[in-house]
């Protein structure tokens, strides 16, 4: 193994040498530059290899031929080698990225860069406290010079402010060092720790450590003493910002990590508090930020805060053991790669406003990496941050630190607001045609390499993580990767065939492995997936981005069913969320809706994670098996509520529903059925899981409230649907209502109630897929969502008409179709339960449903044809095929409900034995107190209604020959010009009278509530960020004031 001091010798020696090689030409000096960085990387990688693979133990390297504390020593252990490897490899890639910039400035910038890297390495390696100061200065001063080296006014100002802050920080660092020396008589960190100055009882020791930590906190850019850092991130060359944000952070974090043992619990707690405040504050301020690089700065500082908090907590709770090292490394490496990558991409895009980042769409590869980096920052799977966050939450829960968990999750959620919004802009914001982004192999390849490293590390995490076995994802993720890589090559239909084949294969593989509920949901997810993929054959071209996203979603959905432990479940949940987000945002106007979908989903997901962590703790702290939900010993109501709210965000219960209408209505026409008919059931699956577990403990009150929530959701959804003019929005609101029914039925907690719920879930899948497919196809054909622009399409589109007709009959719950069975079960259930009031609401909302269903078919297919749609043809066959498959399915289960319901009943019995439904053939009867209560004879109803229907239809057909043709303007005013054209449509606003009576129920109270929350966050952000008034002097004041505040507030003025 190479002596690690060679890193210092190489960087410093070549740094000194480079200026005189200038005369030998750029080629020579550049190759020396790269050779140096490469050899340094090789040395560190070699050590890393030795530590990880060969199990090398920690080593000391001495200088000057004497042992410490007389001389300065370097230490190289696993953590050191991880950090220097990260730094040096990033430095090498960064050098590639920056080489043009450096060549413009001249050889001296190469020198500055090498010495900056030297400083960073030294900070990690040295075990001498004064040496930390020296290396900090080396890093600092070369960074100042590098930032200012492009001579733009802004970078000069930023660098100037940085220097002032750095000057103040080093003064305190020196004070801390010298008083610690005074106390311990040594400068060696290990010696100091061994002398444990805080135990000496001397007040000065406490203050000395205070100075030392404070100086490092300034370098760590903690709120509020970090105005200068934001300017630095904003102004400097993004290539350099990336290095500062990633590598600089890494080194200083590590330096702090080394001296942390000098502190005590009070200090660890203080550091964690400072970190979390920084995390939340800078994320909140980021919301208001429109400037791309400054926003990245806010995000960087936020991540630093999180890392600092994790470190403080690690030391606070049981010392910094393996688990916390795992957590910090996972969080760190995500930030490290992602932030450098994003800054570098910012250097390629060169657009100041985040709204102008749509140009990134010109380069799909960069777009892909931008998304990956952002999602890595947010801690989504498969990226390392996901694992880190999970372990952090779980560990904190084990220590009963629930406030900390709340704060961390809250901060993460706020971070998601601006990152997801930004990504939405990138994907959707309108862009000038002639705008371009910089071309050039060096910068692109740097980002590409960084992205590849990110995915490699993520892959390693997926395979080797110590939490659980995620091997289920191996082939699906490979398949997704394949889809991503070939996305720009393969035509859509091939990808469609592949995707359908993939889903079918998994259906085949898992067909026998699922039992009970999982089997039903597997049918919904897989059959639904295949059916809703079929219309994709319509699309010409490549349909870039669709298939990977869809498959990610389906993998997530399937993963939910496969999951045996909470972590796998949560992983699946997050995959599903990402995939569906990308599907939803594909719609033309869906950017804001996709954002709110994502935020609600993420909020829900965090609650689920929190709930799982609590489950782990309160079921005895053993493992993370999903079955532990059934053995929660205390706080069960709280856990139940958290998980329930988490799942309810997905099912869009009233109050949490505001994302749904827009998201489902604005999605593409074959995506709407996917997200509405299929995706929503994931929430139902989750609800069933926790409802089963709730049988083991007392959650009656909450479940009772959930019943009310379900009823209200049903009513509100139906009412809102009735007032819609947008056909797809109508269906979306209808979905909300239907999930309200399901929630209500589940909350009844009886055998028959659950039967109703699952029956509803299946049926909703069928008829909502049918309706969304049919209406979606029509909408595509007519290029409008507005029903008042349609009408009379029955002749042009008879097949679609039949689909919609069947769909609304099934949905409305009138005999003979399957919906009736649902109603029959549901009404039986609530009457048997005795929930009359809620039941009345449910019954009433059923009536309301007729209104919109009638409106749907009436305004689209009946009445006079609009002139501009006279030549419209029937929709594509690819839309009709799945529709008619579904119709057949509806017919079958309507006529023979026992095929499904019998099975459902069987396994419900294992949870709820109070089976009150008796089957005779296909005739179901329910009993109350032993007496026959209701009978449902599906086959006979089917036959009778069928006969009546056919009779009526034929009569109508005969009669209609004599009917007068109603032309468009027959019913319109003569010679008068209507104020707005939609008023001429016969069904426009037909329920205005109902609106007068019931409209108060549909007032946007909930929307107002959420916008109030959003507005509050924005005004807080706007208020807090006024602190950063741009004046370098004010920033010095913040630094010194910060110190006084820490001293007086956190230490109460009396230190130790």
């Amino acid at each position: 193994m190479v002596n690690i001091i060679y890193i210092i010798i190489l960087l410093l020696g070549i740094g000194f040498l480079l200026p005189i090689t200038e005369k030998l030409g750029k080629k020579v000096s550049n190759s020396m530059f790269f050779l140096t960085l490469t050899s340094v990387s090789v040395i560190s990688v070699q050590w890393l290899y030795a530590f990880i693979i060969n199990g090398q133990t920690s080593l000391q390297f001495f200088t000057a031929g004497v042992k410490p504390p007389l001389s300065i020593n370097l230490q190289l252990g696993l953590s050191e080698s991880v950090f220097i490897t990260s730094i040096n490899i990033l430095a090498l890639i960064g050098a590639v990225y920056l080489i043009k910039h450096f060549n413009n400035i001249g050889i001296r910038s190469h020198v500055l860069y090498l010495l900056m890297i030297l400083g960073l390495n030294g900070l990690v390696l040295t075990r001498d406290i004064f040496n930390i100061f020296v290396f900090l200065e080396i890093t600092g001063i070369s960074t100042y010079a590098l930032i200012g080296s492009d001579l733009r006014l802004k970078s000069l100002i930023a660098s100037f402010k940085y220097m002032l802050a750095g000057g103040v920080a080093s003064i305190f660092l020196l004070l801390g060092i010298i008083f610690l020396y005074h106390n311990t008589g040594t400068l060696n960190i290990d010696g100091m720790i061994a002398a444990s100055p805080l135990q000496s009882g001397l007040k000065i020791a406490g203050i000395a450590i205070f100075f030392l930590f404070f100086a490092l906190l300034i370098e760590m850019k903690q709120f509020p003493a970090n105005g200068w850092a934001l300017d630095v991130y904003e102004a400097s060359n993004p290539g350099i910002s990336g290095i500062i944000s990633a590598a600089g952070t890494a080194a200083i974090l590590f330096a702090l990590y080394k001296v942390m043992p000098l502190g005590n619990d009070l200090w660890f707690n203080t550091i964690a508090v400072i970190g979390i405040i920084t995390f939340i504050a800078s994320n909140i301020m980021g919301i208001k930020q429109k400037n791309a690089t400054r926003l990245l700065g806010y995000s960087s500082i936020g991540q630093l805060g999180l890392l600092l908090a994790a470190m403080g907590l690690g030391f606070l709770y049981g010392g910094i053991n393996g688990k916390f090292q795992f957590i910090i490394f996972a969080l760190f490496i995500s930030h490290f790669i992602a932030k450098a990558g994003l800054f570098w991409i910012a250097g390629i895009v060169k657009k100041k406003e985040i709204k102008s980042w749509g140009v990134l769409r010109k380069s799909p590869v960069l777009l892909f990496f931008t998304g990956s980096f952002m999602f890595a920052l947010l801690g989504f799977p498969p990226f390392p941050g996901f694992f880190g966050k999970w372990e952090l939450v779980l560990t904190l829960a084990n220590k009963h630190q629930f406030l900390w968990i709340t704060a961390i999750l809250l901060g993460s959620l706020i971070e998601a607001i601006y990152l997801i919004r930004w990504f939405g802009y990138i994907l959707k914001e309108k862009q000038e045609e002639n705008e371009t982004i910089e071309q050039g192999a060096t910068k692109y390849s740097s980002v590409f390499i960084l992205g590849t490293i990110l995915f490699t590390i993520s892959g390693l995490y997926m395979i080797y993580n110590p939490i659980t076995n995620l091997s289920f994802y191996f082939y699906p993720l490979l398949f997704i990767a394949f889809l991503f890589i070939t996305d720009n090559i393969l035509p859509a239909y091939i990808k469609n065939i592949l995707s359908i084949a993939g889903l079918s294969y998994y259906g085949y593989v898992y067909f026998n492995q699922f039992s009970e509920f999982r089997f039903i949901f597997a049918v919904i997810f897989l059959a639904g997936g295949i059916l809703t993929l079929i219309p994709g054959f319509v699309k010409k071209g490549k349909r870039v981005g669709f298939y990977p996203s869809a498959i990610i979603m389906y993998v997530g959905l399937l993963g939910l069913l496969v999951a045996k432990d909470m972590f796998s479940f949560f992983t699946a949940w997050e995959f599903m969320t990402i995939g569906s987000y990308f599907l939803i945002i594909r719609g033309k106007r869906s950017q804001p809706h996709a954002l709110s979908y994502m935020l609600f989903s993420l909020g829900g997901a965090y609650l689920i994670m929190f709930g799982f962590a609590l489950t782990h703790v309160f079921s005895g702290g053993n493992g993370i098996a999903l079955d532990l939900l059934n053995s929660i010993k205390s706080n069960s109501a709280l856990i139940f509520t958290m998980l329930a709210i988490g799942f309810l965000t997905k099912t869009a219960a009233a109050g949490l529903h505001i994302w749904l209408p827009g998201a489902h209505a604005e999605a593409e026409s074959d995506v709407s059925p996917m997200v509405s008919a299929v995706l929503l059931k994931a929430g139902v699956f989750g609800l069933i899981l926790i409802m089963i577990s709730s049988l083991r403990f007392d959650a009656k009150m909450i479940i009772y409230l959930l019943g009310w929530l379900g009823a209200i959701t049903a009513l509100l959804g139906n009412l809102m649907a009735s007032f819609q003019e947008d056909a797809k929005k109508l269906l979306a609101y209808s979905s909300i209502a239907q999930l309200g029914y399901i929630l209500f039925a589940l909350a009844i907690m009886s055998h028959i109630g659950w039967m109703a719920a699952i029956w509803y879930a299946m049926n909703h899948f069928l008829y909502k897929a049918l309706l969304f497919l049919a209406v979606g196809a029509v909408v595509v054909k007519l290029k409008t969502h507005n029903m008042y622009e349609m009408g009379g399409l029955i002749k042009q589109m008879p097949f679609s008409f039949v689909s919609v007709l069947i769909g609304i009959i099934a949905l409305s719950g009138v005999p003979p179709l399957s919906g009736f069975g649902g109603k029959w079960l549901l009404y039986n259930a609530f009457i048997l339960k005795g929930w009359y009031l809620q039941g009345a609401i449910i019954a009433f909302s059923g009536v309301v449903a007729f209104l919109y269903l009638f409106k749907l078919i009436n305004s689209i297919f009946l009445g006079p044809v609009k002139d501009n749609f006279r030549k419209v043809k029937e929709v594509s066959i690819w839309y009709l095929i799945p529709q008619y498959i579904i119709i057949i399915a509806i017919m079958v289960i309507s006529a023979k409900p026992k095929i499904v319901l019998g099975k459902i009943g069987d396994f419900i019995t294992s949870y709820m034995p109070d089976n009150l439904v008796v089957w005779k053939g296909d005739v179901a009867s329910s009993y109350m107190n032993g007496k026959l209560f209701g009978v449902w004879d599906a086959p006979n109803i089917m036959i009778i209604i069928g006969i009546i229907f056919v009779t009526l239809l034929s009569w109508l057909l005969i009669m209609s020959r004599k009917a007068q043709k109603v032309e468009m303007f027959n019913i319109v005013y003569s010679a008068e010009r209507p104020e707005s054209p939609q008023t001429t449509h016969f069904s426009h606003n037909i329920y205005s009278h109902y609106r007068k009576a019931l409209g108060f129920l549909a007032l946007p109270l909930i929307v107002n509530f959420w916008s109030f929350i959003v507005d509050s966050i924005h005004s807080i952000a706007d208020f807090v960020r006024r602190l950063y008034n741009g004046n370098g002097q004010a920033y010095i004041m913040h630094i010194l004031g910060f110190m006084v505040i820490i001293y007086f507030v956190l230490f109460n003025g009396g230190l130790f």
Binding site: N3, I5, I8, I9, L12, G13, G15, F16, L17, L18, P19, I20, F61, F62, T63, A64, G65, V66, K67, P69, L70, S71, I72, I105, R108, S109, V111, L112, L115, L118, G122, T126, D128, F130, N131, V134, F135, E137, I138, I141, S142, Y144, A145, G148, S149, L151, F179, Y181, G185, T186, L202, K203, I207, F210, M1037, L1040, G1041, V1044, Y1047, L1055
Partner: protein
């Protein structure tokens, strides 16, 4: 005004942080163990009379190497800031020199070598008496400064200065590296690669005089180039 009040509050706050230190402070009465070993070993093992020099050059040599690097970075950074191609305005150079009097010029020309030698003396005797590379280097830079003062059109020879700067820096690193090669893995920057010589003479203390000479040359040329760059061409 508000700013003043805030500043006052903050300074008052800082003072309240400082006061407990002053109140609780007690001076050392004896050397800490580390310092004791320095005093003993510095003379015995390293052969340096000046313990501070022994610490700076050998015991804490890594610090000093870093210190030299900091100065080097600053000089490089300043050179980057004032680089030629960066100055956009191509105004014809106005030499507004007030010609220094002949006496001053001659005086400085005569004085310069003396000061130069004095500087060299300081860093050569770093291990024997107060002073060393940094102080000697600063003195050398003063010579350049005096030359600037006497003749505003005076220019340093960048080639030679740059060469000396790089050469001395690289040599310093190489001497440190020789410790690794000649004495073992733990001996980076060890001054004992050369014989210690007779205690108290110029050619003693191993490599310390050489290192300090290199440091002196490097610091001198760096500071000179800082001054040169800040003086600039325009104006």
């Amino acid at each position: 005004m508000i700013k003043k009040i805030f500043s006052l509050i903050i300074i008052a706050g800082l003072l309240t942080v400082f006061i407990p230190i002053i109140l609780n402070f007690s001076f050392q009465t004896d050397l800490p163990d580390v310092a004791k070993s320095y005093v003993e070993k510095g003379s015995k093992d390293l052969g340096a009379m000046n313990i501070v020099t022994a610490i700076i050059v050998t015991f804490r040599g890594l610090d000093t190497l870093g210190e030299v690097a900091v100065l080097f970075i600053a000089a490089t950074g300043i050179a980057v800031l004032f680089r030629k191609n960066a100055i956009n305005d191509k105004r014809p150079k106005q030499i507004s020199k007030r010609d220094s009097s002949e006496i001053l010029l001659t005086g400085i020309r005569l004085l310069a070598p003396v000061i130069l030698i004095f500087g060299i003396y300081i860093f050569l005797n770093g291990h024997l008496s107060p002073g060393g590379g940094f102080q000697g280097g600063a003195v050398i830079a003063t010579v350049v400064l005096l030359l600037f003062l006497s003749d505003s059109s005076y220019k340093i020879n960048h080639k030679i200065f740059g060469f000396i700067e790089s050469f001395s820096g690289v040599s310093y690193v190489i001497i440190g590296f020789l410790g690794l090669v000649l004495m073992g893995a733990d001996n980076f920057l060890d001054n004992r690669i050369l014989p210690l010589g007779e205690f108290g003479t110029i050619l003693s203390a191993g490599a310390i005089p050489i290192i300090y000479t290199l440091v002196g040359l490097k610091v001198g040329t760096e500071l000179a180039s800082v001054l040169d760059n800040m003086k600039g061409d325009i104006e």
